[in-house]
Every structure is written in C-alpha cells, then in structure tokens.
Amino acid sequence: MKTLHILNKSPKHAFPASQCARFYSQHDSILLIEDAVYYTLPTTYPLFLAITELRALPTKPTIYALKEDIDARGISETTPNDVKLVTYEGFVELTASHDKSASWY
C-alpha cells in the first residue's frame, strides 16, 4: 500500500525528513508543506536528497511541494525541476491516490 509522507518542518529539523526516508516503501511519495518547502532552495535541496536517499532506494520517491506555501514564502523562482508543485486541490488528490498519509514533524 502506498503512503504519502507529509513533511512540515524547516530544514533546521533533520529528524522528520530522515524518518520519512527510513519508512519509505516503493511507490510512496513525499509532500513538502509549510516550512518544509524551504527544502526546495538550491542550498537545502541537496541536503534533502542526501537525507532521503540514505538507504539507496530502488526507486526515487516523487517529491511534491505545496504551491501556496512556496509562493507565500517568496521562493517560487528556485523550485528544483524534479519537485512537482501542487495546489491544495492537488494535495487532496495525493491523499486520495495514496492509501494513507504519515505526517512527520
């Protein structure tokens, strides 16, 4: 069953991101909301990738970020290409298309 891992804490908190990596199963996805969207900055995104690839995952999770939270924080120009932006509508669709969600904070 597929899990949507929801992260809401800024990159100063390494623990939540590291947990979503350790609990990752194939076909899971990761959604960045609230201050976790700061992981999409050019300097913090490599850190995020390092944390989430710890276990040499067989498949990379798809990473989503909440557009409203990105726009609000003035960082919409620097979203990495492999991060997909979703609005609240997309957030809802992700929770419906995954069997469950886990919120790491």
């Binding site: 069953m1 899990t3 623990f15 947990q19 350790r22 609990f23 276990r55 469950k100 919120s103 790491w104």
Partner: protein, 123 residues
C-alpha cells in the same frame, strides 16, 4: 463501534517524555483505542525511546511519570510494542533499562509496518 480485526492502526511515537504534553496525550489515545478493542501497534522512534526508561522520577519537575503509564498498557490489552533499534543505540539504551517488553525493529521492518497499516497516527 464493533471490534475490527481487518484494520491495523500504527501509532508512531517520536517525542521525548517531558518536552510537551504530546507524549502523554499519545498514550491517552492508545488507552482509548484499547478500550474500543482496536487492533493497534505502538512504534517508538527517535526521542520517544526515552519514554521507555524505567527509572524516571519526574515528581520534582512537576510531571507525571510517563514510563509508569506506559507500563500499564499491557493491562489494557495492548501488547504490540516495537522500537526503532537504531534509536536505542543512539541513546545507548539497553533492554534492562526499558519499562516494556518490546521488539526491536530495523528501518526495513518499520517501512513494512507502515506499508501494511490501514492508518497511521504520528505523535
């Protein structure tokens, strides 16, 4: 509500015992779930392994003993306790320091527990 054995609820605890009331409120939730005969698994990760230390004496910081409450969970029919082995190692905790009989799990096993659960609640 009728007991449902098809659904498994995974409760993931990650908070230290006295940083906020969340550790205690998570245990309160587990007690309620037990009262309604829910099929729950408790998994301690990160700082939550510190809840398991059996020598806590928090009276002088005006807190109630979290380990004491946790120790009572088996009386209420909760028996599925799991702990992130790496978190135990991180804090150098050994089995005899822990207040519950608990099964150590690897990240792979934790990922499987999450994948197989119907819902998860993170506290």
């Amino acid at each position: 509500m009728t007991p449902n054995t098809h659904k498994t609820l995974l409760v993931i605890l990650s908070q230290s015992p006295y940083s906020s009331s969340l550790a205690r409120e998570a245990v309160d939730y587990c007690l309620a779930a037990a009262a309604f005969e829910q099929n729950i698994q408790l998994l301690f990760i990160g700082d939550a392994v510190l809840q398991l230390l059996n020598d806590q004496q928090p009276a002088n910081i005006s807190q109630k003993n979290v380990a004491k409450t946790l120790s009572a969970l088996p009386i209420y029919g909760i028996g599925n306790f799991f702990v992130d082995h790496e978190a135990l190692v991180r804090y150098g905790l050994s089995d005899e320091q822990l207040c519950l009989p608990i099964r150590k799990v690897t990240p792979r096993q934790m990922a499987d527990m999450l994948a197989n659960a119907t819902h998860t609640l993170n506290f």
